[in-house]
Symmetry: C2
């Protein structure tokens, strides 16, 4: 139970095989396996059983091969995690399509609507693959998918009055918000599964402690809020994702408006 580290191994290997398939050598037996199948199997296992269950042996079993055979295709687990990340990042991205086209589509409803769509897509991605945030990216390995996604986002914001640094910071802000919220949501979702304790059991275990120590005079506001149901009632906006997203976008919109006032430029929305 320790954060799995990607990017720990041979960096240029990861980059090489991510950016173009390696050329098959001429001699020797034909490989019975390929990287794509390994990565897919690994993602399948991680999705279904969690990252803790993702061992090299488990992947090999899934594929019906010997454990060490995997090391003919990938130098180590760290690189495999790199590849898994790039694979899932690419789920919503068509690498063949020109990023400009996708950016243009996103811009159609204005840059704010475009950012919203990107944020919701990323949010859904994290819920679909709850292990993503458990892979500690030592350093972001710039695979084709993340690069393309970044280009799309940058082009979406290009020309609305921000400089390159400001655009990047806006994108980082959205990313930080989405991943921060996703972390909460994902961990809460996994809790029941992993601990074998349902949400109800959990709050029943916590409840007595919460109530005992909260009903005293030290925590009046929290007591009131708990009684109002903030911990238990679900208003449909899971973990306040939509609420927070709108606040963040409001803040960005104000900034863009101010920047436009300082340096008037041909705006978009």
């Amino acid at each position: 139970m320790t954060t799995e580290y990607s990017g720990g191994g041979d960096l240029s290997f990861s980059l090489k095989i991510m950016w173009r398939g390696g050329e098959r050598p001429s001699r020797g037996p034909k490989p019975g396996l390929d990287l794509t199948r390994i990565v897919e199997a690994a993602i399948r296992v991680a999705d279904a059983e969690g990252l803790a269950a993702l061992s090299m042996r488990r992947i090999a079993t899934e594929l019906g091969v010997g454990t060490m055979s995997l090391y003919r295709y990938v130098p180590g687990k760290a690189e495999l995690l790199d590849l898994m990340l790039d694979a899932v990042y690419g789920e919503d991205i068509d690498l063949e399509q020109d990023p400009g086209q996708e950016a243009a589509r996103l811009r159609a409803g204005g840059w704010r609507a475009g950012l919203e769509e990107i944020a919701r897509g990323s949010w859904a991605l994290h819920l679909r693959h709850p292990w993503i945030l458990q892979v500690s990216q030592a350093r972001p390995v710039l695979g084709p998918s993340s690069i393309t996604g970044l280009e799309i986002a940058m082009r979406l914001l290009d020309g609305i009055g921000l400089d390159d640094f400001q655009m990047m910071k806006v994108i980082s802000l959205i990313d930080s918000y989405v991943t921060g919220t996703a972390r909460l949501a994902v961990e809460a979702g996994q809790a029941a599964q992993r601990t074998g304790v349902s949400d109800e059991d959990f709050w029943q275990a916590q409840g007595p402690f919460i109530m005992r120590f909260m009903s005293d005079e030290r925590f009046p506001t929290l007591t009131r809020a708990a009684e109002a149901g903030v911990f238990t009632v679900d208003d449909g906006d899971g973990f306040g994702f939509e609420f927070g997203l709108q606040r963040v976008l409001d803040g960005i919109e104000a900034f863009v408006a101010a920047a436009g006032r300082e340096h008037p430029a041909p705006g978009t929305g």
Copy 2:
């Protein structure tokens, strides 16, 4: 290399020992150790050597005791992680002080300044203990420190025109933003240490790939931004934390203003 899971073990144990010290039994030899020393040693190791180096054996060595002796004080590693989290969360919080006093102090400069202080404190905490976000909190174990911190934040926002749900969402938003950004910062900071690859070496390894594949016609915006230095130039606002924080607070401020207009209430700032 897998995310460490807190909250996986006996939940009521964690809660009990967090909320009050256990009573010493009368018979038997006096314990040569105590929980506090174990938790402190564990935090020391995690701070200095990273979570990956934090094994029960390592902690025992640090304390000069046998590995299994630790299990007389803590049921397992998961609970120890719970305790480590509550301990560091409590670093900036005086549990003896009335939360209301601290909230009043924070409110002095207005609720926005108070939120800013909380956010910066949390940011600093995560940089001080880079392992915090690598501990996947199955479910947030509500220890005294986090409860007190939450009460302080709630009381800071109380009476500015938001209901309890809205207050909680605002606090979650700040938390999500801070942790999301901290994750980026912490992982980048740990990368050099763990991989033995310096920042320069890293960008030199990535550089050729970045340039080769970005200079083509598919990534014009990113190419321009990279040449402008967005990936390499440091403008002092590490990872855009301050930039993003101000955008988030702007968004919250607009929301508070709108809520105040709908349901006029005695405001604060």
